[in-house]
């Protein structure tokens, strides 16, 4: 699954956010990390990568009291609205439909040009880059990296405006979730999360949970335990049997792969109301040719591995076959990370 930037057509204008973002780029050294600006997704702490995949744009956006104008409101009205609320841009909306954005830059141009009394629809920016509410947060961060906007409108599947997300919103929620995650890791207790709130929606599975399993190199006597635990968790959550089997197959194949082909690693399993995610990450040595490794029947397994019933070269292709979304990144000698996602249909 690859999210393409969504751009609403129309004219283009440069907002103050763009200017501010450009300023930041010159003066702020960015942090590298998984899915973070400037990151290649390798070598980052798992907990951050999991958060960036688990959290969705809808988890961080502001979805209430969205300050907006309608197309017939004047630029002057928009100016006053922005001034009163200390904001640097307002979306132009009719009902739930987004038509454009009026930024401070548009206001300055209107004041200079003498059209401050004109309706917003004449001067608003209509060439908009928007986010979708179900995008993983990792994609949103890439947007902030790739575009010099300080905030993005968020649309749902029906293309309705459902929120606004700014870099500040992302930082606020990310810090909160990281704090919770650290507390959980240090205290060994499970903690409620944003996704737990999200899963309260009708038909969603009842809870969010995450577990991480260490996979030791060549320890075939224990390989498969993680997959069996994952299967158990899904069963307890009431997930449909056929989906449980698909998730378990991927978890098992990836666990065995880490055990027999790598220097060791981990399997992280995340279950939320709508999705089951497996992140298999090893410590190296990496795969030379990922495309080759994904083909059925290709394997570097030795006789010992084959004598244990593995090494048929089906592990990665099997995992890809059963997953709704599959991604693999590998670098030598850092290691390989495989992501498998499974959609969980709503309970009837």
């Amino acid at each position: 699954m690859e999210y393409k930037p969504t751009i609403l057509s129309g004219g283009e204008s440069r907002s103050d956010d763009q200017i501010m973002a450009a300023h930041e780029r010159k003066h702020v050294k960015r942090v590298s990390g998984p899915g973070l600006p400037g990151s290649d997704g390798q070598g980052e702490p798992l907990v951050i990568m999991e958060l960036l995949q688990r959290l969705r744009v809808k988890d961080v956006m502001r979805d209430h009291d969205i300050i907006s104008v309608v197309r017939t409101d004047t630029m002057h009205f928009a100016q006053n609205l922005m001034k009163r609320n200390h904001i640097s841009g307002v979306p132009v909306v009719e009902g739930k439909r987004l038509f454009g954005i009026v930024s401070i830059n548009d206001i300055i141009l209107a004041l200079e040009g003498g059209w401050i009394g004109d309706p917003c629809q004449k001067h608003m920016a209509t060439n908009l880059v928007v986010l979708e509410e179900d995008m993983p947060l990792a994609f949103a961060l890439k947007y902030f990296e790739n575009y010099i906007f300080g905030r993005f409108p968020v649309l749902n599947k029906e293309r309705d405006l459902v929120g606004i997300v700014s870099q500040r919103d992302v930082t606020r929620v990310l810090m909160r979730e990281l704090t919770r995650e650290l507390a959980r890791l240090e205290g060994g207790t499970s903690s409620p999360s944003l996704s737990a709130e999200a899963s309260k929606s009708e038909g969603a599975l009842p809870y969010y949970s995450m577990r991480q399993f260490v996979v030791v190199r060549n320890d075939l006597s224990n390989a498969g335990k993680a997959a069996n635990e994952i299967k158990k968790m899904l069963g307890e959550a009431g997930v449909e049997k056929k989906i449980i089997r698909r998730v378990a197959v991927a978890a098992y194949e990836l666990e065995i792969n880490i055990c027999i082909h790598s220097l060791g690693g981990s399997i992280t399993f995340i279950l939320d109301g709508h999705k089951a995610t497996i992140i298999a990450k090893d410590k190296g040595p990496g795969i030379k040719d990922v495309e080759w490794a994904l083909r059925d029947g290709t394997s570097t397994a030795n006789d010992w591995i084959r004598s244990m019933g593995f090494g048929a070269g089906m592990g990665l292709s099997n995992s890809k076959r059963v997953a709704d979304f599959f991604d693999i990144k590998s670098t030598i000698p850092t290691g390989t990370t495989v992501l498998c996602e499974f959609n969980l249909p709503e309970k009837k």
Partner: protein, 114 residues
């Protein structure tokens, strides 16, 4: 075909995993566990020569109803323990895998015809 039928037909012994009232839905004869994982059938009877914990763990992943190990291979204690833990009946048979396939085929054919 239930567990008792399997044991009787294959001259086998139920060594671990306990009794079960499940019946055979699909028969899979394979020693490569990834091949087993490819199978989409339900209530799998897994015929294998792989005498290891992984045969049982694989069986659990695909929801198999029974695992049969052939040629009277000695079964590791840990394999039996895993079978007990996961509740998967584990049968040891002196037959070759080929002979087992033939006998099970004949049994299922007769069962379908009766």
């Amino acid at each position: 075909m239930n567990i008792n039928d399997i044991v009787k037909t294959l001259d086998g012994t139920l060594v671990a995993g306990g009794e079960s009232d499940r019946t055979v839905g699909t028969v899979v004869a394979n020693d490569l566990m990834s091949d087993v994982l490819l199978n989409d059938g339900d209530d799998i009877l897994l015929l294998t020569s792989l005498a290891s914990d992984q045969a049982i763990r694989t069986a659990n992943i695909v929801g198999a109803m029974c695992v049969v190990v052939h040629n009277a291979k000695p079964l590791p204690q840990t394999m039996c323990q895993v079978a007990d833990t996961l509740g998967i009946p584990l049968v040891s048979s002196p037959l070759s895998k080929y002979e087992s396939c033939v006998r099970i085929h004949d049994f299922l054919k007769a069962e379908a015809g009766s």
